[in-house]
């Protein structure tokens, strides 16, 4: 399978339409039936998927319309977790942090419904399924049961591995493991790498790994050890400075983050193009995917859309330049190719 050179994608989340947020509230309060809520989520998924496609994104997703949060969505479906109540993340934002109270078990698919629905409505051949990784799930949960965090994370890795295999069987081509917490404890990174590798054991599809707002020099030491196809990292947030750690990325691909998700200012296509030309100093075009820094959910919807539009326009500027050198497409590489 071939893709246009510099394939464009998203990291995962996208602003929920305001009407959907209202449905979330009503559903929470028990004022609408589950069926209606699910229908609203599906309609929003189609809307966002179309928005991604209209912006020209090659590898879209539905913006996580059915997920209220990035850990609870998974922990709620894994047997052995319990919830004692919400805790504050900042200001007046709370999340339901799960506690592992018994051995964790995989009882039901986690995101299969999402995948099947997105597959049924997208016009694109490949979509990217973001899934919170085993280390971050463990790090952002309480642990009452396991002797060590490593055991805890390893059991999560085994559960995720079952899910990934199921997704692969059902036609998934590209999953992305979100590990924003993986560098939290520098002395745990070594075993965290083992945990990730366990989660992807036996898979053949494409596996991306997203890490954000962390010290990438710490991650770079493990690029070669991590059994993933691609690292999706943020660069706009750090003004494309201090990229030398990329010298250690010698075989896998880079998902190059060119859109700042915390700033409402819309990047110009020329800025995006400039950033891409800069990263060519480290990574050749054939190993580059282009995406925003992180999920777009904190932005307002029209700004998120405009940012994606300009991201693709910026990519197109560089594609024209590459075309002159005869570079127009890249093969879709998976774990088999590494």
């Amino acid at each position: 399978m071939e893709l246009p050179i510099l394939p464009t994608s998203v990291i995962g989340s996208y602003p929920k339409p305001r009407w959907l947020l209202r449905q979330y509230k009503l559903y929470e309060l028990g004022k609408i039936p589950e069926e209606d809520f699910k229908e609203a989520v599906r309609d929003a998924s189609v809307a966002v998927l179309r928005e991604h496609e209209r912006a020209g994104i090659d590898i879209p997703w539905d913006g996580e319309m059915g997920r209220s949060e990035m850990t609870e969505y998974f922990t709620a479906k894994i047997h052995g977790f319990r919830f004692y109540g919400p805790i504050r993340v900042w200001g007046n934002f709370y999340f339901n942090k799960a506690s592992a109270v018994s051995k964790l078990e995989y009882k039901e698919p986690l995101v299969l419904d999402e995948l099947k629905f997105v597959q049924s409505v997208t016009t694109r051949e490949i979509v990217k399924i973001p899934i919170t990784g085993p280390y971050t799930l463990a790090e952002w949960s309480f642990n009452e049961y396991y002797d060590t965090k490593e055991d805890f994370a390893m059991d999560l890795a085994k559960i995720l591995n079952k899910e990934f295999k199921l997704l692969e069987k059902e036609g998934a081509k590209f999953i992305q493991i979100d590990e924003p917490a993986i560098l939290n404890h520098p002395n745990e990174v070594e075993w965290a790498v083992e945990v990730i590798n366990r989660a992807v054991k036996g898979l053949k599809l494409k596996v991306g790994m997203h890490v954000c707002y962390s010290n990438y020099y710490l991650l770079a030491d493990y690029f070669d050890d991590l059994n993933v196809t691609q690292f999706a990292l943020e660069f706009a947030n750090r003004n494309f400075r201090d990229m030398d750690f990329l010298k250690k990325l010698t075989s896998q691909e880079l998902g190059f983050g060119v859109i700042d998700v915390h700033n409402p200012r819309i990047e110009t296509p020329e800025e995006v193009a400039r950033a891409i030309r800069k990263v060519f100093n480290y990574i050749e075009p054939e190993r580059l995917y282009i995406n925003p820094d992180c999920g777009l959910k904190l932005l307002s919807r029209n700004i998120a859309y405009q940012k994606l539009v300009n991201m693709v326009k910026g990519v197109e500027i560089v594609r024209k330049e590459l075309e002159k050198k005869g570079k127009t497409s890249v093969p879709f590489r998976t774990l088999k190719d590494f």
């Binding site: 900042w90 007046n92 506690s99 404890h185 707002y213 010290n215």
Partner: protein, 311 residues
């Protein structure tokens, strides 16, 4: 009594209060109603602390979003920036960006302390109330410094020009300084290069503040590397250990405020028994802010602390 249950820092902000604060922020609740909500929730907290047997308390910091805010909004020379991870927690604070010389502005914090004292008089007069402020070292470490030549100069000015005038205004006998940075500097997880404040400077700026009021210096997420004299030092025994060279009164973080699993009180008692010879008084506390726990679990842990009180 040699083992005294005490609270440090914050309690989990009740959801009901959070909703009111949100309503206020979008103009759907007036200031009086919000103030009423703060007082009601503070009163409830004091009653529950009384029932749990916690003798030295704070106001639960319901008016604070994190240990720096809103204080940093009342500092001239400081702008408030986006969200940053508080150590390795999935908890975020707004960071001070230092653009000029720091100076304390008019602020409501002394008033808040007086209000809490009034409520305490009404429901739990036997308790000792501490006022909680961020310590100068931790404030400096969590600042984005765009003005001072180095972090030490910034820490000194935070102490002299912000905390000193503020502490003088507070109607309490004990001021608690949140100083996790004495035990745990910024994590390498977020920054590669680090600038440091020397142990001597850290010690001196805190000891200077100790001349104004009795200080309770709370450290967590590690073993304190700086031991200021003449203060009650709170040590996190869950994630750190007791450093050499402290005696007299000490605060010991013996229950884990970052895990929901309940501690066994007999094990904690054993631990305290071994240490009791070294101290004239031990305050037993959570190891860090209870904000990291769901409300129901936080209170269960406070009740456990309460049962440790006595000889």
């Amino acid at each position: 009594m040699r083992v005294v249950p005490a609270l440090i820092g914050s309690l989990p902000r009740p959801l009901g209060l959070a909703k009111k604060i949100e309503l206020y922020s979008i103009g759907r609740l007036n200031e009086d109603k919000l103030e009423e909500a703060y007082r009601e929730h503070t009163k409830k907290a004091f009653q529950k602390l009384r029932d749990a047997g916690i003798k030295v308390i704070t106001d639960g910091m319901y008016r604070w979003d994190d240990i720096f805010n809103p204080l940093i909004r009342y500092i001239d020379g400081v702008e408030v920036n986006g969200l940053f991870k508080f150590y390795e927690n999935n908890f975020f604070y707004r960071s001070p960006v230092v653009k000029g010389e720091v100076n304390l502005l008019d602020n409501p914090i002394p008033k808040w302390v007086s209000i809490a004292k009034e409520i305490l008089e009404e429901v739990y007069p036997e308790a000792t109330l501490k006022a909680v402020l961020p310590g100068p070292v931790t404030l400096a470490y969590h600042s984005l410094n765009e003005y001072y030549e180095n972090l030490e100069a910034l820490a000194k000015d935070y102490a002299e020009k912000v905390l000193t005038p503020l502490i003088k205004e507070l109607e309490v006998d004990i001021v608690e300084l949140q100083e996790p940075a004495l035990a745990s500097e910024l994590s390498r997880a977020t920054r590669e290069e680090e600038v440091h404040i020397s142990k001597e400077t850290a010690k001196t700026v805190i000891e200077e503040l100790g001349k104004l009021r009795k200080l309770w210096v709370v450290t967590y997420f590690g073993t304190p590397q700086v031991i200021p004299k003449g203060v009650i030092l709170n040590v996190d025994l869950v994630e750190g250990s007791l450093p050499d060279g402290i005696g007299g009164e000490v605060g010991l973080g013996v229950v884990n405020a970052r895990e929901t699993k309940m501690e066994r009180s007999d094990r904690i008692r054993d631990k305290l028994l071994k240490l009791s010879g070294n101290f004239s008084r031990i305050y037993v506390t959570p190891n860090t802010l209870l904000d990291f726990l769901p409300e129901s679990v936080a209170w269960r842990k406070l009740k456990l602390l309460g049962r440790l009180g006595g000889e």
